[in-house]
């Protein structure tokens, strides 16, 4: 699925960075990312859109399982309610966490979780080194991105067709920037991509991210 992110992507990126800090409170029970395992609570990859109480192999309270059976599917909105005071939203949930009182903390942690909600190609980005906020906050020039992107579409088709190479259109900018920097700093190992990313400045990567995010 492709995320519909309504706020400007740089604001989203800042939110994600804050959300990662807030998530420390959740970490003793929930893992997230490519290597996430079941702990006291279920892993939270792909949480938004998941029917409550259905992560295979995880332990749930009867209350949470019934909520799922009764039609509770996690959305940004109901996660916000749940996280405000979990036991008010799902009485008798086994989650002992008392809740996040500040709405901006809830928004940040939801934004962070959303970055683990993307499809397989993008999810891999979660192993990539974090990008500093200044780089993530750059506003890309879409027109310059279209020009630079003409080099990308020699291989990656602009209509999103995936024939032997991943589609790169419609990605959230933050994910695109993170992946490109992972190639630029040689954390990711495809030499063609290392060479392309290595020839691009931070501004140019931002321009590409802005352009490809705009391509439907």
């Amino acid at each position: 699925m492709i995320l519909a992110i309504s706020m400007p992507w740089f604001a989203f990126a800042n939110e994600v960075e804050r959300g990662e800090k807030v998530f420390k409170k959740c970490r003793s029970c929930h893992q997230v990312g490519a290597k996430a395992k079941i702990k006291n609570g279920p892993p939270l990859n792909g949480l938004i859109g998941r029917i409550a109480g259905t992560y295979e192999g995880a332990k749930y309270s009867d209350a949470m399982q019934s909520a799922g059976a009764g039609g509770l599917t996690w959305t940004e909105a109901n996660l916000d309610q749940f996280l405000t005071k979990p036991r008010s939203f799902v009485a008798h949930t086994s989650m002992s966490f008392s809740g996040l009182k500040k709405s901006k903390d809830r928004a940040a942690v939801i934004a962070y979780l959303m970055t683990f909600n993307v499809d397989a190609g993008m999810l891999a980005a979660k192993d990539d080194p974090a990008i500093n906020a200044e780089i993530l906050a750059m506003v890309g020039d879409v027109e310059y991105g279209e020009y630079l992107g003409s080099s990308c579409v020699t291989c990656h088709q602009v209509d999103g067709t995936d024939q032997g190479l991943p589609s790169i259109t419609g990605w959230p900018s933050a994910a695109f920037v993170t992946v490109m920097h992972a190639y630029k700093n040689k954390h990711r190992d495809n030499p063609v991509m290392q060479q392309h990313a290595g020839a691009l400045s931070n501004e140019e990567i931002a321009a590409l991210a802005a352009y490809f995010e705009s391509v439907q």
């Binding site: 506003v139 310059y144 003409s150 020699t154 190479l165 495809n190 030499p191 063609v192 020839a199 140019e204």
Partner: protein, 422 residues
């Protein structure tokens, strides 16, 4: 946002372009771009100028063939990995979806003063900017004993199409234990790994159908592209089948006799069954006719916009150009076409001109799922297109990496053909 030096230069180019861009108007009221050659350079330039200008520029593409067979991946057809039709492309979408005037004819004259191109069919096309992307022609007399009249007996198969089909048919019909010879070209030439990928593909066919056959490469060059990788692959897959005679042993002193089917190396006569002669190359003839080539037979260009050093209203793309560090490849031509299209649009309509950036990757196939690659990124300097950084596959890579590399090349083929033909 912080401005770095590169962006700053980019912005100044934009400013300069918008100040100095006169609207050039033709009879139709629109500026006219004529493009000679519908390959990786010309078709890409046509599509990007038409697409970017949204009808504000009148684009004409002159290409003699109705169906264009790509040189890239034509070796894979020889090796039995591709069907012939899969490397053929038509121009219908460029006409129907991009409004490009596609003219199937030969350009035979360029009048630089009148700014017009003459066609073999007698027509004449006026231009404000002319883009010449004709690929290569062969130097006459480059291989003693060989000329175009002998290309059926000894095919070059270095312009894809009927020649490729002919060479494959000859390889497939070789007598048991026969000899396939290749006369390899001197530098510079189209597709540096091409002859060696071809040898790999021929070896693959012969190993399956004619395992006692031999391959003889006669090469005037002391070394060649991805040599270590090819030689490793030949040892792994085709041990004992391939012999290469370099200049140390007379590889640069070769003549052929197409009637006798012999190849003479430094006086020693070899009887062969198939002979693939790839002569020395020069820019396609029309570049010469237009007067934009130098004494080496190539068309020198300015890196920033691929404009000819002889005429500011003419741009030369791809194999025909002498641009600096990029290899002559379809990927390079496609990359250069985008820089050129951006500059031409800027000059004719005042659209933004961004800094020139180039890239190239050449994939080659050695055996089934054994793909290798070499690539680099480039920038424009005052003197030439200059290499920034590059990479090449390593010897001893595991099978999984090689398979991924091959799959990547298939993705690229699909991508670039869509990028050229829509």
């Amino acid at each position: 946002m912080k401005l770095n030096r590169r962006l700053f230069i980019g912005s100044s180019v934009v400013a300069a372009a918008s100040l100095s861009a006169p609207m050039v108007l033709g009879a139709t009221g629109k500026p006219r771009v004529v493009i000679i050659g519908g390959g990786a350079g010309g078709a890409t330039a046509a599509r990007y100028i038409a697409k970017g200008s949204k009808g504000a520029i009148d684009v004409t593409l002159i290409e003699p063939t109705r169906t264009y067979y790509t040189c890239f991946f034509s070796n894979l057809y020889i090796g039995g990995f591709r069907d012939f039709n899969s490397i053929g492309h038509t121009y219908g979408k460029l006409a129907a979806e991009y409004g490009i005037n596609v003219v199937h004819d030969w350009a035979v004259g360029v009048d630089r003063d009148a700014k017009s191109v003459t066609l073999a069919g007698g027509g004449k096309l006026a231009y404000d900017r002319l883009i010449i992307s004709p690929g290569i022609d062969f130097k006459e007399g480059a291989v003693e004993g060989w000329d175009l009249s002998s290309q059926n007996k000894m095919p070059h198969a270095y312009k894809a199409g009927s020649q490729t089909q002919l060479l494959k048919a000859q390889v497939d019909a070789m007598p048991a234990g026969g000899t396939f010879a290749m006369v390899a070209p001197p530098n510079p030439f189209r597709c540096p790994p091409g002859p060696y990928e071809r040898v790999s593909m021929v070896a693959h066919q012969l190993k399956a159908n004619n395992p006692t056959a031999k391959i003889l490469i006669v090469d005037p060059k002391p070394k060649f592209s991805k040599q270590g990788l090819f030689e490793e692959g030949w040892n792994n897959h085709y041990a004992g089948m391939i012999e290469r005679v370099g200049p140390d042993f007379g590889g640069d002193m070769v003549s052929v006799n197409p009637d006798e089917m012999t190849v003479t190396i430094d006086g020693e006569v070899n009887k062969v069954d198939v002979c693939n002669v790839i002569p020395a190359m020069k820019a396609g003839k029309i570049a010469d006719i237009a007067g934009v080539t130098n004494d080496k037979g190539w068309a020198p260009v300015n890196a920033v916009d691929m404009s000819s050093k002889m005429d500011a209203n003419i741009h030369v793309l791809g194999d025909a150009s002498q641009q600096g560090d990029m290899p002559k490849s379809g990927f390079s031509a496609n990359s250069q076409a985008k820089v050129c299209a951006n500059a031409v649009r800027g000059a004719l309509t005042g659209s933004k001109v961004f800094p020139a950036k180039f890239a190239n990757t050449c994939w080659s196939l050695i055996n089934e799922d054994d793909g290798i690659k070499v690539g680099a990124s480039y920038e424009a300097t005052a003197e030439k297109i200059k290499k920034i950084d590059g990479f090449v596959s390593k010897t001893g890579e595991n099978a999984e990496t090689r398979k991924e590399t091959f799959e990547e090349s298939v993705g690229w083929y699909n991508g670039i053909s869509t990028d050229m033909f829509g």
